[in-house]
């Protein structure tokens, strides 16, 4: 598994009051890495500290790892719950030579399947989930099933105001647990004949 904590170093990402997106994504990445390692996963992370990593470098790390799944972690103050995105590239024949900026096109179908499995796990954990497609630098160059996972303040139900802060430890633990369960299910699905 590849965990990509977005932003870092000079690139703070979004600024939400005193919170920086780069710190929130790293915190969740570290927490999730521990959970996955405890379940026997080999986990590769794009960063383990507050360092800048270019989008291209993140994709290189993911592509070298030949991972079963790549999860790019982001945070936002907009909306509520979890937003999950798959590349908006149109699916293409995996046999074709992939251009760097559209390499993910051969994996979009698998990425959508991964998104579905993670969505089920998050819903089971009581999370409010929104699914979508996006053009995200880095994600579009990954040659593995990849999703961008963006967490917002938790909303209790659709339409209600967000309640839980982004840096709430209990909220982050719940997100990490749900993601770990989803990735475990994804791995199990991959082993099925």
């Amino acid at each position: 598994m590849v965990l990509d904590a977005a932003h870092g170093g000079d690139d703070g990402g979004g600024k939400f009051g005193s919170l920086l997106e780069k710190d929130l994504t790293l915190a969740l990445s570290v927490r999730l890495r521990s959970l996955l390692a405890a379940r026997g996963f080999a986990v590769v992370t794009t960063r383990e500290s507050d360092v800048a990593v270019a989008a291209e470098r993140r994709a290189e790390i993911a592509n070298h790892a030949a991972a079963q799944a790549c999860v790019s972690i982001h945070a936002t103050q907009t909306g509520s719950g979890v937003h999950m995105f798959v590349s908006s590239l149109a699916p293409q024949d995996p046999g074709r030579i992939a251009a760097w900026k559209t390499a993910q096109s051969a994996w979009v179908t698998r990425s959508l399947a991964l998104e579905g499995v993670l969505n089920s796990a998050l819903l089971q954990a009581g999370m409010n989930v929104t699914l979508g497609r996006t053009a995200l630098p880095g994600l579009d160059s990954m040659v593995c099933p990849s999703v961008a996972f963006e967490f917002a303040p938790r909303g209790v139900a659709k339409g209600e105001r967000p309640t839980t802060a982004l840096d709430d430890a209990e909220y982050q633990a719940k997100l990490a647990e749900a993601l770990a369960a989803g990735l475990l299910a994804w791995q199990a699905e991959g082993r099925e004949p």
Binding site: G79, L123, T134, A135, A148, A152, G159
Partner: protein
């Protein structure tokens, strides 16, 4: 002593006369410059002001609560030129986002749209494959130059809008956002993607020939909108229709 006093008095009188003379000369120069300026201007009204007729426009308005876009019909005074229409319609969309109770709040309003260029889409390198397509950094500028000079019946770039093609083919819209709008845009994949998609869908809903959309910021290519949504891509406008949120 009296000799020194006479010299001082003489010097004072001389400086006073020189100051008055310089003031008179400067006043005369100013008057002449003003007359030259007025002579160069033709203030006679030679063209009647054009009052645009009110027409219906469809805006695809984003909602952060469920990451959806909903169509909203409005009646607006719209110019006849397609580029100007696109600019007015997108300006109205951003005005809605700048309202205090906006469901997708983004500061800036209509001033966030610098220019909208409409170019023949077929002038770019071949057909578009997929939802988004990579385009080199200089391609939009080159396309703008080609569209303004080689597009059929192109009218040229003037006054912030451009280039109308009369061949009825698909068009590429180049939306030039202002850096002030981009700087004030909320950061996040969902928020940025919604802004991009609502602009694309609104353009396509009102100008069906617009099938592709590219973004510039202050006339320059920029990597992302606010750290996430890729602005180096060409977006397919027809893919960005109304959506429903997928919340449970």
């Amino acid at each position: 002593m009296s000799m020194v006093r006479r010299i001082q008095t003489g010097l004072f009188v001389f400086l006073l006369v020189a100051s008055v003379a310089m003031a008179v000369v400067l006043w005369q120069l100013r008057e002449r410059a003003h007359e030259r300026l007025l002579a160069g201007q033709d203030s006679a009204p030679t063209q009647a002001p054009v009052i645009s007729a009110e027409e219906r426009a469809t805006l695809l308005v984003a909602n952060d609560a469920d990451s959806s876009m909903q169509p909203r019909e409005l009646t607006l005074p719209l110019p006849q030129d397609d580029g100007s229409r696109a600019r007015v319609i997108l300006g109205k969309l951003l005005d809605l986002y700048a309202l205090p109770d906006a469901a997708h709040p983004v500061a800036g309003g209509a001033a966030g749209i610098g220019q909208v260029f409409l170019l023949p889409a077929e002038n770019l390198n071949g057909p578009v494959a997929g939802s988004v397509r990579s385009v080199g950094p200089a391609e939009a500028s080159l396309a703008a130059a080609r569209g303004a000079t080689a597009g059929s019946l192109a009218t040229g770039i003037k006054g912030g809008t451009v280039a109308r093609t009369a061949d009825g083919g698909p068009q590429l819209a180049v939306v030039d956002l202002t850096s002030a709008f981009v700087a004030s845009h909320p950061s996040g994949i969902a928020a940025e993607t919604l802004t991009v998609q609502s602009i694309c869908a609104t353009l396509h809903a009102n100008l069906p020939r617009v099938t592709q959309v590219r973004f510039l910021v202050d006339g320059q290519q920029r990597a992302t909108l606010a750290g996430h949504a890729d602005l180096t891509r060409t977006y397919l406008a027809s893919d960005a229709g109304p959506t429903e949120g997928t919340n449970p």
